[in-house]
């Protein structure tokens, strides 16, 4: 089920003037990312002009309205799932509340044939790609390690071992390039994950091989309890791009317009064969790391309040209202869609699915193994109340 039919066009909205185009020369000229994050809308919802935009153009109203709709629905979903998790319906859930602009801005720049390599945090990005909520949440409810058809959605499963998925994205992108398929692989990473060796290797392989990969680092300023200052001494995470000879962008991650525009340009660049891009979206994790985390132990509530006042949805809403694009009708439609999704999700999560214990053995190998069949039979026998079974 793809809940969004009005997917914004994946074509770039970037102004391709000489200075601002993403291209190899730019990488080779070793331009440092701006210290101030690029943005197209300020927190009051006003369009920004000048250097701060990094030369990127504000997407048109229709595109922005589509992004708004996705964000509102995603948030409703996220809040619903967090509530269900508190009620014990899910084993765990890492919320992306407050990160909707990063998640949806980035992923909306992809075409259907492109691939997404998400982390555990990026549930709403997968939702936006059209994955069914029940299948999506199977992992966090504990039904199976991953619950949706990765090939059908061109989405990898939500990766837990940090930064490992970035290498998969690079490999897949390279394979596509070898086959001359014009597709792009986008991977999300957390700020903390950039410290892992695999992040480095992924950036480097992508740059050396010039794979069509887009790295989106959601800098939500925490890795569980560890603040960014203990993760890197670089001025921005985007600075890391320099060391790989690829373009890096430091973007206001609560400005969905900027996230969408910059990612679209990077996706275009990748598709054109000009290699990878590193995008840092500066945002904030409003919720706890997961439901089992207690953030009062390590951060000041006032910080959270500060960031709540920089809410990505409200920012765009202000702009859309001021432009007259967000009518009451549209608002009502969006609310209804969001509530419907929430209801579907509630129902799905409140409905136990059947688990077949013998499925434990079914997918481990494509080539059947006698010893595994023995173990399966032993479990079957045990379940049937008979002792023993094998041997």
């Amino acid at each position: 089920m793809c809940i969004f039919s009005d997917a914004p066009s994946a074509r770039s909205t970037v102004s391709h003037d000489g200075h601002m185009t993403l291209n190899v020369e730019r990488a080779d000229s070793r331009t440092l990312p701006s210290l101030k994050p690029l943005r197209l809308l300020d927190n009051a919802g006003h369009a920004v002009s000048g250097a701060e935009t990094g030369g990127f153009a504000l997407p048109d109203l229709e595109t922005l309205l589509g992004l708004y709709r996705r964000m509102v629905i995603a948030r409703r979903f996220d809040v619903q799932v967090t509530a269900l998790t508190r009620q014990g319906r899910l084993a765990t859930f890492p919320s992306a509340l407050g990160q909707e602009a990063c998640e949806i801005g980035a992923v909306s720049a992809l075409r259907r044939e492109d691939w997404l390599f998400p982390t555990y945090r990026d549930t709403i990005a997968l939702l936006t790609r059209g994955v069914d909520p029940a299948e999506l949440l199977a992992q966090f409810r504990g039904d199976w390690h991953s619950g949706f058809d990765q090939k059908a959605h061109r989405c990898a499963s939500q990766s837990t071992p940090l930064a490992t998925q970035a290498l998969h994205a690079v490999g897949l992108a390279h394979a596509a390039r070898l086959r001359r398929d014009p597709i792009v692989a986008l991977t999300f990473l957390g700020d903390g994950s950039t410290s892992e060796g695999d992040a480095h290797e992924a950036f480097n392989f992508a740059a050396v091989w010039q794979t069509p990969t887009v790295f989106v680092v959601q800098n939500n300023q925490f890795a569980i309890s560890v603040p960014l200052s203990k993760q890197t001494r670089a001025r921005t995470i985007a600075d890391k791009a320099v060391g790989y000879g690829m373009p890096g962008y430091h973007v206001d991650g609560n400005d969905v317009a900027a996230m969408y525009a910059v990612t679209s340009a990077a996706v275009d660049r990748a598709r054109a064969g000009d290699g990878p891009t590193l995008i840092e979206g500066l945002t904030y994790r409003i919720e706890a790391h997961t439901n089992s985390d207690d953030p009062t132990r390590y951060r000041d509530k006032r910080d959270v309040e500060h960031w709540k006042r920089r809410d990505p949805i409200e920012r765009l809403e202000r702009y859309l209202v001021s432009e007259g694009a967000l009518t009451e009708d549209v608002r009502a439609e969006i609310t209804a869609a969001a509530e419907e999704l929430a209801a579907t999700t509630r129902d799905a999560m409140n409905t136990e699915v059947e688990h077949d214990p013998l499925e434990l053995f079914r997918h481990v190998y494509g080539t059947p193994r006698a010893a595994l069949a023995e173990q399966r039979d032993a479990l079957a026998a045990e379940l049937a109340g008979r002792p023993g079974g094998a041997e």
Partner: protein
């Protein structure tokens, strides 16, 4: 070997200490006793660790003794190697055992080999704490049992407590050891309680203990499955089967003496663990118990272990984990 003192029996009184609490106390006391003991890793600082094992230590000892490192396990173990070379006694935490895998090269190629490489000049008094095994409803990668990787690596000492008293005593011993120790903490037992007065010193870190005496079969367990073994012994007793339970505590070295004595007495042995059976630690136990006691054995050593599949998702783990019933069924499969 003698059974543990009475204090080690679980009793659920209000003066009880959890395993997490005992580990916390061990770290605190070790840091208090020796300024060279430092603790670092992911979230071990102000948060106190995701399992709260380092709770309160950052407040007490400050940033120079316990701190949050960047998020990179090879980095954590690799820098700990350098610190230990300089004479510190680092205690590092791998958040979950599947997340120790990025550090695998540092552990296998350096931690395990440094002393031998340098002809004993550079020993590494380093403790790598690894919360391991499942039964906590964890999603993928949060319930691995990685012990077979470490025990197959010469140069490492690998131990695992099954109760709070051992947790305290063995962690103190691990920190005091000049050899590097992989200290495996059974996640599902973190909240198990025991009435205890700390500090406590139990059997030496490298010895197994007979936790329950019996005459018919030696049931060998460690870490999370000790509870399973004790439950099986209870249930067995009800059926007239006298099960002797041995808690290995030390996986490498293996206490041939204690285990051998028990097996020679009972004539039968079984080993329980959560990790997959194929290539699991139980293979070593079965192989060496058999090698050394073949003519005392009335039946092959049984392995009651996880199936040879990746650790399952929460809704399926009950079918994967060895239960007391599965243990008894297995014992019943022997010809008696």
């Amino acid at each position: 070997m003698s059974a543990l003192p009475a204090s080690v029996v679980e009793d659920g009184t209000t003066t009880a200490v959890t395993m997490a609490g005992a580990l916390n106390a061990a770290l605190r006391d070790a840091m208090e006793a020796d300024a060279d003991v430092v603790v670092f890793g992911e979230d071990v600082g102000p948060l106190g660790g995701v399992f709260r094992v380092t709770d309160g230590l950052h407040d007490r000892f400050g940033e120079k003794r316990i701190w949050d490192s960047p998020l990179a396990e090879a980095g954590i173990v690799g820098t700990a190697v350098g610190m230990a070379m300089y004479g510190l006694r680092p205690v590092v935490e791998m958040q979950f055992d599947a997340f120790s895998y990025p550090a695998f090269e540092q552990v296998v190629s350096h931690v395990a080999k440094m002393r031998n490489r340098t002809r004993g000049v550079v020993s590494l008094p380093l403790v790598i704490r690894i919360p391991y095994a499942g039964d906590i409803g964890g999603v993928e990668h949060h319930s691995d049992s990685s012990e077979a990787y470490w025990t197959a690596t010469p140069g490492l000492t690998v131990v695992t407590p099954s109760n709070p008293a051992d947790a305290y005593s063995m962690l103190r011993a691990a920190i005091a050891s000049d050899d590097p120790v992989v200290f495996m903490e059974p996640k599902s037992r973190y909240w198990s309680k025991q009435s205890l007065s700390l500090p406590v010193e139990t059997a030496p870190m490298d010895r197994a203990v007979v936790l329950r005496e019996g005459t018919d079969v030696t049931l060998i367990a460690y870490g999370p499955t000790v509870r399973t073994a004790l439950a099986a012994a209870d249930a067995g007793a009800a059926e007239g089967l006298s099960i002797e339970v041995v808690d290995l505590r030390s996986l490498s070295p293996f206490d041939d003496e204690t285990v051998g004595a028990s097996v020679r007495k009972t004539g039968r042995a079984a080993i329980i663990h959560e990790a997959a059976q194929f290539g699991g630690y139980g293979a070593e136990v079965a192989a060496r118990v058999t090698e050394r006691n073949f003519f005392h054995l009335a039946a092959p050593v049984l392995r009651i272990a996880g199936f040879d599949v990746p650790y399952p998702s929460p809704k399926l783990e009950e079918y994967f984990l060895p239960t007391p019933e599965r243990v008894l069924n297995a014992l019943a499969s022997w010809e008696w």
